[in-house]
Symmetry: C2
Subunit: 554 residues, 2 copies
């Protein structure tokens, strides 16, 4: 990193007062003590309490952590669904100066034990329904001294072979509900997340207190979150901090709803919870929002989602899905973009009333873009020659980003120099255009671009076109080695059950034929019951490519 | 200051990326280039441009400042109305690492020259209509090397005896519209304001880049400002940074309206501008909002102020005024509290939907409180024994504050140790209660409390009660030395023109008699055409007390 920071005239303002997570929850307890937190439990019942009560338990937990021997700087693994206790753990662990290691239950055992050992975690907190994930790697863990099970059961009733097991609630019982929070250097880590986006071992991003503090403020500003909102945390809090949305709630005094355990097959739960708790803000990905909409279509009485905003990441939200929610009371699906390295929010698709003269179709097309750079970041789209691409919405370059909530290295990792440029920008690996109004559109991952006969084909464009078919639930397009053309596109498609007998390869290629050159169209379409996905719900193109690697050669 | 900051585990996040003002305006130019800025000119016409154009001029100005010889750390005085050029100056001066010295045109010449000399300002930028204010002190200025006049006129047409005069527009003309912003240590000052709240010479508060950055984010969050808003900057930007409201606009992409020149006598201008530009957010004080409402009452067609929020500071907004705006489309007057030392926002009165069961009258009464502590600050209300007062809404203590945007000293000033406690809290000098819901109410300045016969009488409670009279425009109650009771209250009252012949002292005392003990009532009521005010529009009780000091002794 090579930029210079110059000194101006000294200020008198409170700059030695650190930006710490504890000041947010302490403030919420003072200003919004009666505001509710609702948490769905394993048995489907709802646990309810408020910021005042949560803060008391967080103080108890901080005392319990100290009694356990946790010291500032220690890494503490947490594997838990989105629950009120997960919320408590984030604030108590970071509040005493330790670090929440996010343990993604969808990681492979090999990766999960690597992450735990690499971070040298001293303790692991684990939900009782998730014990098998930890038991499976227990003998590989080199630094863990003990385990705390997050449970409503008695410790004696829990069957596990984990040693040194303690119970979360028992730990809390003995403690005082008062804690004097230390002032922590704001550049110290508050949480760590390992990214598995590329090949090789996961890479560690350690977020600072300052980073999440500024990110949270930016997010509440950008999204106009406020104390009349009801925020539901749907994205798993064990990865990428669940996009930091739940963190916004105590900052603005919004009611907070935790989804508890759900799977891709049980997203109905989420819809029911949104209706019963009058949720106004939600976060997730099309992989979740699509089946939710399917379920809503079966409801005899359509929910009124007036004022609802849903921030949608991971993959491009299909227009049909965005329209589906819009028809339920102008509910807005807000496309956003980020990564583990970016805390994560970088782009957000907000409609600008200052843009005049668009047709409704143009407005919808614009909604599918990843959106506008949020204020506070330096974002560039860079052509191979190192220059910024023109803002023409056509020229493709790589997104480079730096700013107060962008990582500048990977923890203890020799791959760091390859991933950042000499001015401290993180190289995203995402190909994108930027238009005259400032909207950025991701056209592809550089490694997912299909190279056919010396030309590039965008897999994402093909996927979106295929997904515009009414009977298609999901589609993924991959480049497969081809004896003549180097690579050729292959489409993997999931159809609605009702269409499985009727929709053919020709139908799929037919509806996209008008929008692409002939040589850009997939050579074949394979219908599947479901698509391979990564631990964070993205299409696992790496896996798909290996499964079909000989498809065009055989 | 004595708190310790501990180190945790190192993070990998972008903590060496400084929070600088330049990143906000650079971001606005990238993300919201077409969003409009409107600035009312001296002749009443409106100047219009947008963030993209403003950013080009700001870059030209940055180049011009460098050519003038301005260096990082230099202090540059600015005396100007709320205009687009004032906006440009803030960003260009701070962006190159220099400091905007806010020159309050309502300061006495003695104080103004003191402030300029104390800060050692090298240049002064001054609006052409304000030249006399600077000419009057020019021979007292010890460090100023040159003056730049902010004007649309030719330099030759301006009559002034100021030496080394340059023209703002001529300076810009010659410069390139591109500038490479330096990274500035975020703890360096971006602007300075001198507080005149207490006795003695003004005291210098030097706000850092980080301080205004975090304050701005907090403000946009707390107020739910967003890109569909139209923000009008009414509070003068030459003092307390105009409460930082105008700074929120580029952060969220809101249209920004600058009022230009107006006085207490010409507030009609403000109403007309709000209507024509469809303003949704405004800031000011009852001293401004009251005559505005008077004017609105004379309009044949009442404006529709649906969705309007007006943040109101300095003095408690009378209920009748808040109701008056509410009747124009549920326009919200948001009572807020702060000081020069606090950047300024500390308390803001937001209605919490979580509080159930209040009557409408209770809700209105609650609105008059200064409000809830914004998240991020440590705010205590401290009894004389040093303990926090109970949250009973009755027990009075002094407000103490510390946090990321609270000053921790005065620049080069021996009075610093008296104004801060040993834990880094600023001692506000304001007496307040805090209630079970977290709402804080200022009951008085400690120095304005009236001490009568060994008991305290709140001058503010009396003022509010008197101002609830329909025919009263303003009222101020002061403690006057009394031979028997030490002090006794005296009320100074301004009546509506139509009521001047009909309302008597007995009428005034009559309507407040029910709410106070007999001994708490003013012994006398004096009717005036206007009340003495300080440079920032507050009742000048110091002056009033000296004018009437012998009233009860004679």
């Amino acid at each position: 990193m090579s930029y210079t920071i110059i000194d101006g005239f000294p200020s008198t303002s409170g700059d030695n007062y650190p930006l710490n997570t504890s000041s947010i929850i302490r403030g919420a307890a003072q200003t919004y003590p009666e505001v509710e937190i609702v948490s769905r439990q394993i048995d489907g019942t709802l646990f309810r309490y408020n910021y005042g009560q949560a803060y008391k338990r967080i103080q108890k937990l901080a005392n319990a952590l100290k009694r356990l021997g946790v010291k500032p700087g220690d890494r503490i693994g947490v594997m838990e669904w989105n629950t009120y206790r997960h919320f408590e753990l984030y604030f108590a662990i970071s509040g005493i100066g330790a670090v929440v290691l996010q343990m993604n239950l969808r990681l492979s055992p090999v990766d999960l034990s690597y992450v735990t050992n690499h971070s040298e975690a001293r303790f692991i907190f684990v939900g009782d329904s998730l014990l098998p994930n930890i038991e499976g790697i227990a003998d590989k863990l080199e630094t863990v001294e003990g385990f705390v099970v997050i449970t409503d059961q008695n410790l004696g009733d829990i069957k596990t072979n984990l040693p040194s097991l303690k119970s979360y609630e028992v730990l809390l019982e003995e403690e005082a509900a008062e804690f004097e929070w230390p002032m922590i250097n704001e550049n110290s880590a508050y949480s760590a997340c390992y990214t598995t986006g590329t090949t090789g071992k996961p890479k560690g991003v350690y977020y600072s207190h300052r980073c999440i503090y500024v990110h949270t403020m930016m997010m509440t500003s950008s999204l106009r979150l406020g104390l009349t909102d009801v925020i539901m945390q749907t994205v798993p809090m064990f990865h990428g901090q669940g996009w930091g949305v739940w963190f916004c709630a105590p900052l603005v005094g919004a009611k907070l709803v935790f989804t508890g355990r759900y799977t891709m097959e049980t997203t109905d739960i989420l819809v029911d919870l949104m209706i019963s708790e009058k949720v106004t803000f939600n976060n997730g990905a099309p992989a979740i929002f699509m089946p939710m909409l399917e379920y809503i279509r079966t409801l005899p009485e359509k929910p009124d989602f007036t004022g609802l905003r849903m921030i949608s990441g991971a993959t491009e939200p299909p227009l049909s899905m965005m329209r589906g929610y819009w028809n339920l009371g102008k509910a807005e699906v807000i496309h956003a973009y980020g990564a583990t390295e970016t805390t994560p929010i970088v782009l957000m698709n907000r409609f600008k009333p200052t843009i005049k003269g668009w047709t409704q179709e143009q407005e919808w097309a614009n909604q599918s873009k990843q959106g506008l750079p949020v204020i506070g970041l330096d974002l560039k789209v860079i052509a191979p020659d190192g220059k910024q691409v023109p803002t023409d919405g056509e020229t493709v370059g790589e997104i480079l980003i730096r700013g107060p909530w962008i990582t500048t290295s990977y923890y203890n990792d020799s791959r760091t120099p390859d991933c950042f440029d000499e001015n401290g920008y993180w190289k995203s690996g995402d190909a994108a255009t930027i238009d005259e109004h400032g909207y950025v559109k991701i056209t592809d991952r550089f490694k997912d671009v299909i190279k056919s006969g010396g030309e590039w084909i965008s897999s994402i464009d093909l996927e979106n076109a295929i997904m515009s078919h009414d009977d298609v639930i999901e589609a993924c397009v991959i480049g497969i080695a081809h004896p003549q053309w180097q690579e050729r596109p292959l489409a993997l498609v999931v159809l609605r059950d009702t269409a499985k007998e009727t929709v053919s390869k020709e139908d799929i290629l037919g509806i996209i034929g008008d929008h692409f050159a002939k040589w850009q169209l997939p050579d074949d379409v394979i219908f599947l019951d479901k698509l391979p996905k990564t631990g964070v719900g993205k299409f696992d193109k790496k896996l798909a490519r290996s499964q079909y690697k000989d498809f065009y050669s055989e």
